[in-house]
């Protein structure tokens, strides 16, 4: 049995109700092509891609339609064959506008075959594989969407000794990663081997929360023949175990310094979905054009784990899952803790859409925010060791300098503090606003000097 228990316990954590049963036992189903696909150029962290097709062009499945614009950026590919009907501004999940390519599928799904499969990747060489990962446009599929190529080519002064595969999926409701581990365990392990050879590391930890015993079993079977220090790290079920820095602490006991990256402590963390995408891109030559998204929530007629093309609108996803059985008052892209509320269903899926959640009125209580009672529960709950109450008060008073000196930029916006706050203070919202203000201020100071 190649399993270890988590070495360390999270500093702060919460135990929300999980509701994973809604979609946990539903197989991944491929969704038929919708009538229209709107592929956003802002799919990943960093600079949005630059569209390289124009209205009227005919594109093939997997053809590159967006060019990476800069080092931290990723290519975007056509999810199916069809005609480009528009290249226009469209809403993103955060409500801002970004360029998107609208494709009307021709129904043929003709592949472009632009990337030849690399069947024997062990002899292909590091640069070929890295180039392939970049060409396939792979970005982290856990949520932030950090371009994978950048993550897998750390600078020489940052030696990496541990690869962590993140299968924690600590967000309530979401089961996409769980299903991917169950149904594609062997491929995930292959993808993991590819990344392991790229990084030249021996130690691999596959971190899974103990509320997914089937996934743990499936992954155990997959790694049975592995050589080197490979093990499943069983994490206690608590939120936010899946957060990158928290996971590194739980599996290795190392702490990422303030403002630092996992590579500062010799770790690279990749989501299980990303790992599968790496395998698919290298071995099959498929660019990242589809992903598993959990469409869930009590109002949804048939919660499912849908394998949908990137660019599918939320309305089409919902229709595929049978629509709503009762009114939903809140639509969240992602999970309930860190997801982003949506104001319509026109938004389309991206490489980072792990779930689409519909919540009915009884699960969206409206609170009146009250002054802080200084109980300190948020300080205990904060996994980043911050002082949420103090930060929130400072931001409410408009004192962003003080918030900066209280390390607001270390906040991972996990929502533990707001979840636990008895005064129902909108803590995370304050921090999101404060972080954007502090970042803006730093940028302005930089341009001045």
């Amino acid at each position: 049995m190649r399993t270890t228990q988590a070495l360390f316990k999270l500093r702060g954590s919460i135990h929300p109700e999980y509701f994973k049963g809604l979609a946990r036992d539903k197989d991944i189903v491929a969704m038929p092509l919708p009538k229209q696909l709107c592929v956003s150029m802002a799919q990943h962290l960093g600079a949005p891609a630059k569209p390289i097709v124009s209205k009227g062009d005919h594109v093939l499945k997997g053809q590159r339609i967006g060019e990476a614009a800069g080092f931290i950026s990723a290519h975007v590919h056509a999810p199916t064959s069809g005609t480009v009907t528009a290249v226009e501004d469209g809403p993103t999940v955060t409500g801002t506008l970004a360029l998107r390519v609208v494709i009307e599928p021709d129904g043929q799904d003709t592949p472009a075959n632009a990337l030849p499969p690399i069947k024997d990747w062990t002899t292909a060489g590091r640069d070929t594989i890295l180039a392939r990962i970049a060409d396939a446009g792979i970005a982290g599929m856990g949520g932030a969407g950090f371009p994978t190529r950048v993550k897998l080519s750390p600078p020489p002064d940052k030696p990496i000794d541990t690869l962590i595969i993140n299968g924690a999926e600590c967000e309530p409701y979401l089961t996409a990663d769980h299903r991917v581990m169950l149904e594609r365990a062997e491929q995930i392990w292959q993808g993991c081997e590819i990344m392991r050879s790229l990084l030249g590391v021996k130690t691999v930890r596959i971190a899974i929360e103990n509320n997914k015993p089937e996934a743990i079993k499936a992954m155990q079977t997959a790694i049975a023949k592995a050589d080197g220090d490979v093990a499943i790290c069983i994490l206690k079920t608590e939120y936010p175990q899946g957060a990158e820095k928290q996971q590194i602490f739980a599996t290795t006991g190392r702490e990422v310094p303030s403002g630092g990256l996992p590579m500062d402590v010799g770790c690279v963390v990749e989501n299980v979905g990303t790992t599968y995408a790496v395998w698919d891109a290298v071995v099959n030559g498929n660019p990242l054009i589809e992903r598993v998204t959990t469409v869930t929530g009590h109002p949804v007629a048939e919660p499912r784990n849908v394998l949908a093309r990137i660019g599918t609108s939320y309305a089409d996803l919902l229709a595929f899952c049978g629509g709503l059985t009762c009114d939903a008052v809140k639509i969240v892209s992602g999970g309930p803790m860190m997801g982003i509320a949506q104001s319509n269903l026109e938004t389309t899926t991206t490489k980072t859409t792990s779930g689409l959640l519909f919540l009915e009125a009884s699960r969206v209580p409206e609170y009146t925010s009250m002054p802080c009672i200084s109980c300190g529960r948020c300080v205990v709950a904060c996994p980043m060791d911050l002082l949420p109450a103090e930060l929130s008060n400072r931001i409410e008073a408009g004192d962003y300098d003080a918030a900066e000196s209280l390390n607001i930029l270390d906040c991972i916006e996990c929502g533990c503090c707001a979840f636990i706050c008895p005064a129902h203070r909108p803590l995370v919202q304050h921090f999101k606003m404060g972080k954007s203000r502090v970042i803006l201020k730093r940028r302005q100071a930089q341009t001045k000097s």
Binding site: L97, I340, S343, G398, P426, H430, M433
Partner: protein, 284 residues
């Protein structure tokens, strides 16, 4: 009673006090750093609102900067021509008075006129509201009405009425704090003497803008035809050219979007200096 301990104690304490006192007196005489008397004089002239509109950390800091020659005397917006004249006289610099500029919210979309796209129940701050699905209004350019500008206004010149920020021109001191606070960038400085304004910032095409708000500019160019050079077009949005006075009211009456309004008395026909700064939205 034995008076000796009392005398010794009071003598010691008195002696220590005397020694320290004389040391301080000597230090004040010999170690003092002479401060430019100009600074105190200039600070007395400045209005003392500490609004930060000049770019310095309050009136005292600005006075110091003028005295050292690091700043010109014409940066104090709240002071107006009076303060400028006095500062110029005190420093010997020459300065020509420009017309007072006041802030104006270029939007009329209150809760009855503008269409909401979702219900927002988070932090009552425009910057926070704009981060949730791009704000709760269908118009992506208009006032959100959560009062971030009113919160930073040092003189309380901004009122939020029916989810719309309105700035009182008589109270506004022109410090531009509200312009920095507004996430939509729809507050602009306008010359005080001008009373005709285009109160819309939507750059959307006519049908889109109209769907989002009853008082939107639809880009019909009617005002440019009727009002001449007093109005100009920026894509699908009409803008006021404040250098040219708008003397006729026909453009106001004929505007199909009802987004041109007159606040106060009619404009005189004299020319005025163009409103400073870039058009609204540029700082975002």
């Amino acid at each position: 009673m034995d008076w000796m301990p009392v005398l010794i104690t009071s003598g010691t304490i008195g002696g220590v006090g005397l020694a320290c006192g004389s040391a301080l007196a000597l230090a004040a005489k010999f170690l003092s750093v002479p401060e430019d008397p100009k600074i105190a004089e200039l600070e007395g002239i400045l209005p003392g609102v500490n609004c930060g509109g000049c770019g310095f950390a309050g009136c005292a800091d600005y006075a110091k900067a003028i005295a050292s020659g690091a700043a010109s005397v014409d940066l104090c917006a709240p002071g107006g021509p009076d303060v400028l004249k006095k500062l110029a006289a005190a420093t010997g610099q020459e300065a020509t008075a420009t017309e007072k500029q006041v802030a104006m919210v270029l939007c009329q979309g209150n809760e009855h006129r503008a269409v909401h796209k979702h219900i927002y129940n988070g932090v009552a701050d425009c910057n926070a509201a704009a981060m949730v699905a791009g704000g709760d209004m269908l118009c992506t350019y208009g006032c959100l009405g959560y009062g971030s500008c009113a919160f930073v206004c040092p003189v309380g010149a901004i009122a939020i009425k029916e989810n719309l920020a309105t700035i009182h021109p008589e109270l506004c001191i022109g410090c531009k704090a509200c312009i920095k606070a507004c996430p939509r960038g729809i507050i602009r400085m306008v010359p005080e003497s001008r009373s005709v304004h285009v109160l819309c910032s939507s750059k959307d095409k006519g049908p889109v803008a109209k769907k989002a708000c009853q008082v939107a500019c639809i880009g019909c160019k009617m005002c440019v035809k009727l009002g001449g050079e007093a109005f100009e077009m920026d894509g699908f949005l009409a803008k006021r050219n404040y250098a040219i006075p708008a003397t006729s009211d026909t453009a106001i009456e004929k505007c199909p979007g009802k987004c041109i309004v007159k606040i106060g008395a009619s404009e005189a026909t004299t020319q005025t200096a163009p409103a400073d700064g870039a058009p609204s939205g540029s700082h975002a």
